[in-house]
């Protein structure tokens, strides 16, 4: 996996966790979980973001604002964001060192 995509996946996982804590923290705390480290987690998230190239980060932010999730898995040659067909040529040797975007919706593509 492209190192930048790896960072973007980690960033999205962290954003997911921060959002979930913000939106469902009460429910989770009702189950007994504590979230005392939220500020530290946000700091880790911001530190991680500094390692991502500005162009990728800007694209990630734009897509997150538009769709909720910027990075989506490709399953059965489909972008799971918009269900557009992803040509198998996308995974060719030529493209494996690039951060790939869906040609239809622009989401960043991740092959699990």
């Amino acid at each position: 996996m492209h190192p930048q995509l790896q960072l973007l996946v980690a960033l999205q996982d962290l954003d997911e966790m921060i959002n979930e804590t913000a939106n469902q923290g009460t429910e989770l705390e009702g189950l007994g979980f504590k979230h005392g480290g939220l500020d530290e987690l946000k700091k880790s998230r911001d530190d991680l973001a500094t390692k991502i190239e500005p162009g990728h980060l800007s694209w990630y932010k734009r897509l997150t604002g538009k769709f909720g999730h910027a990075v989506v898995p490709v399953v059965s040659n489909l972008c799971t964001g918009c269900f557009a067909n992803i040509p198998s040529s996308f995974v060719s040797k030529t493209n494996e060192n690039k951060v790939q975007k869906c040609e239809s919706c622009g989401r960043l593509l991740y092959w699990p």
Partner: protein, 153 residues
């Protein structure tokens, strides 16, 4: 949510009856290794990173001798539950300072819009409040015995 529904997200391949690790990172790594074995999941590092971040938020060892490591990551395509036990116990930063012996690890994809994993988490936490059940779970000989104990009224 019915406990039988929750158990549909796990299997005998996702049951580790004897964890060998005695510290938190080692136990998480052992469970992640168990989680991915025999599956299409190819990014254990992403799962470990997510779980480690989640533990930094606050320990998931919230029950008496029980922990529920959990979270969402792109590395999985569906909710998967890993069950593990440790007779010796793991130092999992529990609130009461005691060792953790029983683990239910829930890993969900970001697209789990029905919050299936939180409902599963709630059902599991509710179920294992019973001390006699926890003793039965620790004593269960195999996965089938473990699930039968979970489903018993």
């Amino acid at each position: 949510m019915d406990i039988a529904e929750v158990l549909k997200h796990t299997s005998s391949e996702h049951f580790l009856p004897n964890l060998t690790a005695t510290d938190k990172q080692g136990a998480l790594a052992e469970m992640v290794e168990g989680l991915i074995s025999g599956t299409q999941i190819s990014r254990p590092d992403a799962i470990m990173q997510m779980l480690t971040s989640r533990e930094a938020l606050g320990s998931t060892a919230v029950g008496p001798g029980i922990a529920f490591p959990h979270g969402r990551t792109l590395a999985v395509q569906r909710l998967t539950i890993m069950i593990a036990r440790s007779t010796e116990g793991v130092d999992f930063d529990s609130e009461d300072g005691n060792k953790t012996h029983l683990f239910f690890m829930l890993i969900a994809p970001p697209q789990d819009s029905g919050h299936q994993y939180i409902k599963s988490l709630a059902a599991l936490i509710d179920r294992v409040q019973d001390g006699d059940l926890r003793d039965s779970l620790m004593a269960a000989e195999d996965y089938e015995g473990f699930c039968n104990a979970m489903k018993e009224n």
